[in-house]
Symmetry: C2
């Protein structure tokens, strides 16, 4: 992308991350450091050459760094400390987007890993007292609970139900909550979704690994 050629913080920031796909690459790396193939999978629709281009650009700009796992030549992409600072504006955009999310998936693809970023944005970005929150969700007559603290969101189930169902349902509930400008304590709702436990459990584990 051509530079805007403006001595303005916003313009210069967009010179770096304003290119198509760039902020979504950062989103993926805010979830966890990832391999090239994982990024491709987490960014449905991106062309392979574009992803390579964007990773190069972001690396040259100092947003992303390539790490070589000691074993062999495995390349892992991760955010630099400065790149991780994009969490703030990204969370702002996520909060701003809640009116766009109320219409539901509609046909868009969905990946539970994206909620790792979104939940933290929605639950930690509100003004006012920020203790911890508990959101109860009823799925098929079974009750689950999502506990949220200052550091982010953790999912706990009091049941044998899959974690994926909890996470997805949580998305709908939290988005509905925020859209309706309600408080975040002890709210219950009802959603009906199926899911895969192992995948989400791994996502959550990786999300707790520091970069």
């Amino acid at each position: 992308m051509r530079s805007y050629g403006q001595y303005c913080g916003l313009a210069r920031a967009l010179d770096v991350v304003g290119d198509r796909w760039n902020l979504l690459v950062v989103r993926q790396l805010l979830i966890a450091p990832a391999r090239y193939r994982e990024l491709l999978d987490g960014l449905p629709g991106v062309a392979t050459n574009l992803l390579a281009d964007r990773l190069r650009d972001l690396e040259n700009a100092g947003v992303v760094e390539r790490r070589l796992a000691e074993e062999g030549s495995a390349v892992v992409y991760a955010l630099t400390p400065w790149g991780a600072g994009l969490r703030e504006p990204i969370e702002g955009l996520i909060r701003w987007s809640t009116p766009l999310m109320t219409r539901g998936p509609d046909g868009d693809r969905f990946d539970a890993a994206w909620l790792v970023v979104a939940l933290r944005a929605l639950l930690s970005g509100r003004p006012g007292p920020r203790r911890s929150s508990a959101i109860g969700i009823a799925v098929d007559d079974r009750l689950f609970q999502v506990l949220t603290g200052p550091g982010g969101a953790e999912v706990e189930t009091h049941d044998g139900r899959t974690l994926d169902a909890v996470v997805r349902a949580e998305a709908a509930i939290v988005l509905g909550l925020v859209a309706g400008a309600l408080g975040l304590d002890d709210v219950a709702g009802l959603v009906d979704i199926e899911g895969d436990e192992a995948a989400v459990r791994e996502i959550l584990q990786r999300a707790h690994r520091p970069h």
Copy 2:
């Protein structure tokens, strides 16, 4: 721009404002509502057809609205309340960009009006006590002062020097401050710039008008 087709807040936000120039249009309207020509002037480098396209897109998305001044057919563009909510992520990007600003204008164009957004972002977005700050600036052996309160920044001069010089110098000082992670009380610096008083005075007046 094609939709990302992802049920993710960030992706949907970028479906709306991720197009080139879109966030810069919003920046201009965060300064003040503006006519088409004013937007062209405040967005150096944008093509007229692109600006027209983007304004249409943003209007259809509910970010921008056209207002008809009672007199004749004068069209004024302004942010909707939802569109004004982009201030938060924009301010986040501006704060994130400070390392990019320390190298100076370099050849980029500069418009003092952009500081109306940037100053507020830099001075009101820091964590911790948020009282008011005073930044002293020495320009050609004369001292000026920029007073900042919770609602934003106001420029005052204790001298006959042009306001534009104050504002431009202020940019360099504040950016340097934030980049160096210093506090914001009673800091002095030195810059040497010329400017035009009337233009900046009008900008500041308009910035204090609510949308």
